[in-house]
């Protein structure tokens, strides 16, 4: 009959945890801080002059393992500089099937697509999880951007880099 003494040990262990601080938080009210590299949804960026960075090269469309990005190429005059250059006339990212692998960010030649740090994107319809170009540019303004972009990722992985990159870190 050693069940009693053994059980006392289990009871003590569980009682000790009653007095520890709970790990969970009241979710909608309290939110966990996200590290700088946290990746969730997407955003398309503008450059300093306010011109769209995306050149519609379809590199992300080709590399996406889930095949959820579709880009339409358009050549037009830039509203900012007035020069003729390539743009994406349409950019759709269907995040229903997205696996958040960051490969599209990695391959972007102009650092146009980045990921954002807000994970909570509940929706009532599948259609509202489809990120259209307007929503992607909207995200640039309203969502905290993740740290990584193509240049920074390439810098980290480059074979000629010498040791630990001293990159900006978590908030």
């Amino acid at each position: 009959m050693f069940y009693f003494t053994d059980s006392l040990r289990s009871l003590a262990a569980s009682m000790r945890n009653v007095f520890r601080r709970p790990t969970t938080v009241e979710f909608p009210a309290v939110r966990r801080p996200r590290p700088a590299r946290y990746r969730a949804s997407f955003a398309l960026l503008h450059d300093e002059a306010g011109d769209e960075l995306c050149v519609g090269c379809k590199a992300c469309e080709r590399i996406c393992p889930s095949e959820i990005i579709s880009v339409e190429l358009l050549k037009k005059e830039s509203p900012v500089t007035g020069k003729k250059r390539a743009y994406a006339s349409d950019f759709v990212l269907d995040s229903n099937a997205c696996i958040y692998c960051e490969l599209c960010v990695q391959v972007c030649p102009t650092d146009a697509i980045v990921m954002v740090k807000t994970p909570e994107e509940p929706a009532y319809h599948r259609q509202s999880l489809v990120l259209t170009m307007e929503r992607l540019y909207e995200n640039e303004k309203h969502r905290p951007l993740s740290w990584a972009n193509a240049t920074l990722l390439a810098e980290m992985q480059a074979p000629e880099s010498k040791g630990a990159t001293k990159v900006a870190e978590s908030e």
Partner: protein, 325 residues
Amino acid sequence: MNPWLRGLLYALLITNVFLTITAWSIWFERKFSGRMQSRLGPTFYGPWGLLQPVVDGIKLIQKESLIPASADKLLFVVAPPLTVVLALGTAAVIPFSSDIIAADLDIGVLYLLALGSLTIIPVWMSGWSSNNKYAMLGAMRAVAQGVSYEIPLVLASLVPVVLAGSMSLSDIVRFQIKNGWFAFWPPGPGFFAFLFFLPASLAEANRIPFDIPEAESELIAGVSTEYTGMGFGLLYLAEYLHTLVISAVASVLFFGGWDGPFAPGLHWMVLKTLGLFAGIFWVRWSLVRFRSDQLMSICWRYLVPGGLILVMSAGLWVHFTRGGG
């Protein structure tokens, strides 16, 4: 007072008080187990989630009650309410204070044990009528376990009966008020009888670590597998009711009922019952469960012989202290 009126009054009182306490004890358990598990527990409805039982009840009532096509419909429907009735019926003889008692039977302990062991029947009914293999296995285990643990339960409750020389629960309490609680005096039989009583009654109520009939990691939900909505709710409620009644009985038999160091009365009884109830929750959320054959071997190899020895030693105590009796 008219005995019929009195009976009705007490029936209403006991039903309402017990069901209310049970409902909020589920809230307490969820909060307590939540803190134990580093969680917050219910927080959403009312302050500290206090309205959670209400919401749960509404949810369960709203749900569609499904009856499996191959089930025995009558038994399937009758079983859950019957478990609740039997669990509540046990409460009739519990003395809450010197004058709050529904029926002060001379054979209170016997009534208690008899009604308690009847709970196996609705459990078996629900398991059999579900026509589900898991429910069937669970019911079989419940019957085997209930029948076996009846014996140590009877033996353990015989100890206070022998010591007090009465089968009436209020007499047992009065004896304890005079001579000290059985859990502490006489040293030995009473305390050990309590240690036997608690697991045996937990086994009867199918609580962890003896909840093998509904071991959800093996049998999904045992007897309640096929139940939905309020049918499930009643089975669930009956389990808690049973546990509550057990706590009350244990505090009457071993901890002196309404007796207390000062101002004896109802509050002591409530305090002791809820304390034991919380203790049972603590045990539940801390232990893993036995296998069914191990459970049987514990019963027949340790608890039954041990119970016999306890009864004998209680008898000897009575013989030598009160001489021949």
